[in-house]
């Protein structure tokens, strides 16, 4: 229908190739990686899932959430509650016993059902996101204010979880699971199945989000990001679009949380607090916001490097991570996916100088 410009076409193809490589690599991973490494990549894929969600709200709709740990945590806790009940097999979960609880609190009961858990993993984060989102976006809290607010939210939830040891395991979080839907959680087979489940979720999320951003809604989101009031005076309701995309990203984070728990074996308030929430944003920034392959790449690369470097130089990985964040945001605002544009940029700068 329309002639795409050369630059546009080239860029899209570059990213398509990149994402194909990533997915092929991940699909093949269990065949050449030790189960430990594979398990770690499983975890990174959960992170990539969150990163896609964050990119949808930050890269496309311009909402920087520093509290996505909340949604990740809600999904993860829902799953963990189910696994914990499975592990304790009818008895009171261990942490409740030593918190002097006498019987299972009512809101834990439904989590005995697998179907309910799977629904809750998505619906709980989405409901919370819908409430928070509609309040803040209808009241036009934007930019930095929203970021700080979301940060407060993460902090509040984490503190709350820590304070309610009898219900949520306190700072220990929920851990020591034995089976997931009947399969032993430590066995390599289960891990492989979980790995592929995560990969499938990631691919689905990628394809789904790509579908969305190619639709008009993607352009509306960008419009809201670039000039929210203009979008409003073009007849769009920014709040509705923002709440939608915020809920979408909360759902992705919730699913990621649910897949994270059986693979890592623990969810604790530490993982939903401010620092991990900011790290989530950093994966997106490093990979390249505003593209869908960027966050996937960013989450995989940053976390892989983090694991690798903290294994090799336990005392110094913080230097490295801090350095990477600084350098990427300063000199590569487009993230890793924009590396290929650098030669062109340098050329342009040279030309300018010559002029």
């Amino acid at each position: 229908m329309l002639n795409e410009t050369k630059a546009g076409k080239f860029r899209i193809q570059g990213n398509t190739i990149l994402v194909t490589i990533i997915f092929i690599f991940l699909t093949a991973a269990p065949f050449f990686m030790s189960s430990f490494r594979m398990n770690m990549f499983g975890k990174y894929m959960c992170f990539a899932l969150i990163a896609i969600g964050i990119d949808m709200i930050w890269g496309y709709a311009g909402i920087l959430s520093l509290g996505h740990g909340v949604y990740f945590g809600l999904g993860a806790y829902c799953m963990a509650m189910h696994l914990k009940l499975e592990a304790s097999g009818g008895a009171l979960p261990d942490f409740m016993a030593w918190s002097a609880m006498e019987k299972l609190p009512g809101f834990w009961k439904p989590f005995e059902s697998t179907a309910f858990t799977l629904l809750a993993v998505v619906l709980v984060p989405v409901t919370v996101a819908a409430i928070i989102g509609s309040l803040t976006f209808l009241n036009r809290i934007r930019g930095v204010y929203f970021s700080i607010l979301s940060q407060a939210l993460a902090y509040a939830l984490a503190t709350f979880m820590i304070g309610r040891q009898e219900y949520f395991g306190g700072s220990n979080g929920l851990t020591n699971f034995s089976t997931i839907f009947g399969c032993p959680i430590q066995s390599t087979q289960t891990k492989i199945i979980l790995f592929y489940c995560t990969l499938a979720a990631l691919i689905l999320a990628y394809v789904g989000c790509r579908f969305l951003v190619k639709r008009r809604i993607g352009r509306v989101l960008i419009a809201v990001r670039d000039a929210e009031n203009r979008a409003r005076f073009t007849g769009y309701s920014p709040a509705v679009y923002k709440v939608f995309v915020y809920c979408l990203s909360a759902a992705l984070a919730g699913i990621a949380g649910a897949l994270y728990v059986p693979q890592v074996g623990i969810i604790s308030p530490t993982d939903i607090n401010i620092s991990p929430s900011i790290e989530m944003v950093i994966w997106v920034a490093v990979g390249g916001k505003g593209t869908l392959v960027g966050p996937v790449l960013g989450a995989l690369v940053v976390n892989f490097l983090k694991s690798l470097i903290s294994e090799q130089f336990p005392a110094f990985w913080q230097f490295f991570m801090g350095g990477v964040f600084i350098l990427v945001v300063l000199f590569l605002p487009g993230g890793l996916v924009s590396i290929k544009e650098i030669p062109a940029k340098i050329k342009a700068r040279k030309l300018k100088k010559e002029e």
Binding site: Q13, I17, L18, T20, I21, I24, F25, A29, P30, F31, F32, M33, S34, S35, F36, R37, M38, N39, M40, K43, A91, L92, D94, F95, M96, A97, W98, S99, A100, T159, I162, G163, Q165, G170, S171, N172, G173, T175, N176, F177, I185, S187, T188, Q189, K191, I192, F195, V264, G265, I266, S268, T270, D271, S307, S310, E311, P314, A315, W317, Q318
Partner: protein, 445 residues
């Protein structure tokens, strides 16, 4: 245009190859492992066990060295607490290596950073066990990190030596606890308080104050269960989030309730805030005494002795313990890591963990985890340590027999022993010997 795409694809395939090579490290792959293990399960379970045993034997103790893991936080909020633990563990390993190693093998350690995050602890423990194939792990500080590592060591048949006093109500087949459980710290300390700190009305009024965290909460739950039996009165119970820096409100509540003793189970940094602000509020130990379970010489050094002077602390070891072994240990620790360093109970626990493992391995005659655990459970694994003779209790509790001390901090920041139990106290992590604790333990498996 098409040609260029082709080249790109070729390039990318090459990249994938390179990347995968770098990641692989070891051969096999998870898929391989999975098929392996599934064939194993079809065989008899005995055969499986034996094949596993030989597997670990080969990998952990190949050549002249045996690999062990040290897993503590080197970054994040817990780094300040866990750094001395790493140092003590390393010191013990070096000593053993100098003395000829274990079963003729030198110990080689792999140091991993838990980054004050339980999930990272789990990840690193898995790495140590499956990638590095270590014979044992020394590490963890917080309950959260131990709870996270527990399923990992159980699932991969590893062995963890845990060096920090904790809330009890736990015993894992694959964990050895070298530190006290509540009946080796909190409960005797309460005995001491009942004897010495009853108020004028003959009733001991206790204020429970701790970090919002599992150890303090559970310890306080235990103390609350004791209440009926002991007849003391709990006038308040407060928790502050980890890393909280303002204790003034809680101190107001303390002044409001006028207890005889504050049971302080604050962890880490907040101790400094608490003791500083306690003094600021015009309080002192002779007005309201405190008894701390989670604050040792190192914390006192970090806040300044003037704030801790006169307060009470309960441990199994103080740096001030006046024995040759203790003095020599402290001296050596200082000579290696610096004059300003101090030792204390957790440091010694980390140190003796290595020696207990050595004793157990030597008794078992092998590095195999199952054999070592069996040796430990015999009740005959013991060693001389700075705190005296330490024995791993017979049976499956996996705790050690040790004395309990209550001491008072002096002007130099040293805790001087005021009272000690006559004998070493038998560990009882599930509090089975205590009738009042039945409610806490009924639901355990």
């Amino acid at each position: 245009m098409k040609k260029r795409d082709l080249w790109k694809k070729i390039l990318s395939v090459a990249m994938v190859g390179a990347l995968s090579m770098s990641v692989m490290g070891c051969s096999g792959g998870a898929m391989g492992e999975a098929t392996e293990s599934s064939t194993e399960t079809t065989e008899s379970s005995e055969a499986e066990e034996s094949s596993e045993v030989t597997g670990t034997e080969e990998s952990t103790a190949s050549g002249d060295t045996v690999k062990v893991g040290i897993l503590h936080s080197q970054s994040g909020t817990m780094a300040m607490a866990e750094k001395p633990m790493i140092e003590a563990t390393q010191m013990a390993i070096d000593e053993i290596n100098e003395a000829g190693g274990i079963l003729g093998k030198q110990i080689e350690f792999v140091l991993e950073d838990g980054a004050s995050d339980a999930a990272i602890f789990a990840e690193k423990a898995t790495k140590l066990l499956t990638n590095d194939k270590v014979a044992t792990i020394f590490g963890c500080w917080t309950s959260a990190s131990r709870k996270a590592v527990l399923p990992v060591v159980e699932g991969n048949n590893g062995l963890l030596w845990y060096p920090v006093q904790y809330e009890g109500l736990e015993s894992s087949h694959n964990i050895m606890y070298t530190a006290p459980c509540p009946n080796q710290q909190a409960i005797p300390a309460m005995d001491y308080l009942m004897e010495n700190y009853k108020g004028e009305d003959g009733v001991l009024k206790v204020f429970l104050f701790g970090s919002d965290y599992v150890y303090p909460r559970t310890t306080n739950t235990i103390i609350k269960e004791m209440q009926a039996e002991y007849g003391f009165e709990i006038v308040g119970e407060e928790y502050i989030p980890l890393g909280y820096t303002d204790c003034s409100t809680v101190i107001t509540k303390i002044q409001q309730t006028q207890p005889d003793v504050i049971i302080n189970t604050i962890n880490g940094d907040s101790n400094v805030s608490f003791f500083k602000q306690y003094k600021d509020a015009g309080l002192s130990p002779d007005k309201i005494q405190t008894m701390s379970f989670s604050c040792y010489e190192e914390d006192i050094r970090g806040m300044g002795a003037e704030y801790a002077e006169g307060h009470l602390f309960a441990w199994n070891y103080f740096q001030s313990v006046d024995t040759e072994a203790s003095k020599a240990f402290t001296e050596k620790f200082k000579s290696i890591y610096g004059e300003e360093k101090v030792t204390g109970d957790p440091v010694v626990n980390a140190y003796e963990g290595v020696y207990l493992w050595k004793a157990a391995v030597e008794k078992a005659g092998t590095f195999d985890v199952e054999a070592v655990i069996t040796a430990c459970e015999s009740g005959e694994v013991e060693c001389e340590t700075p705190e005296g003779l330490i024995t791993i209790a017979a049976g499956t509790t996996h705790h050690v027999l040790q004395k309990v001390l209550v001491g008072e901090c002096d002007a130099e920041g040293q805790i001087q022993t005021l009272w000690e139990t006559e004998d070493r106290v038998e560990p009882d992590p599930w509090l089975t010997e205590y009738a009042w604790a039945s409610k806490l333990t009924t639901d355990s498996e």
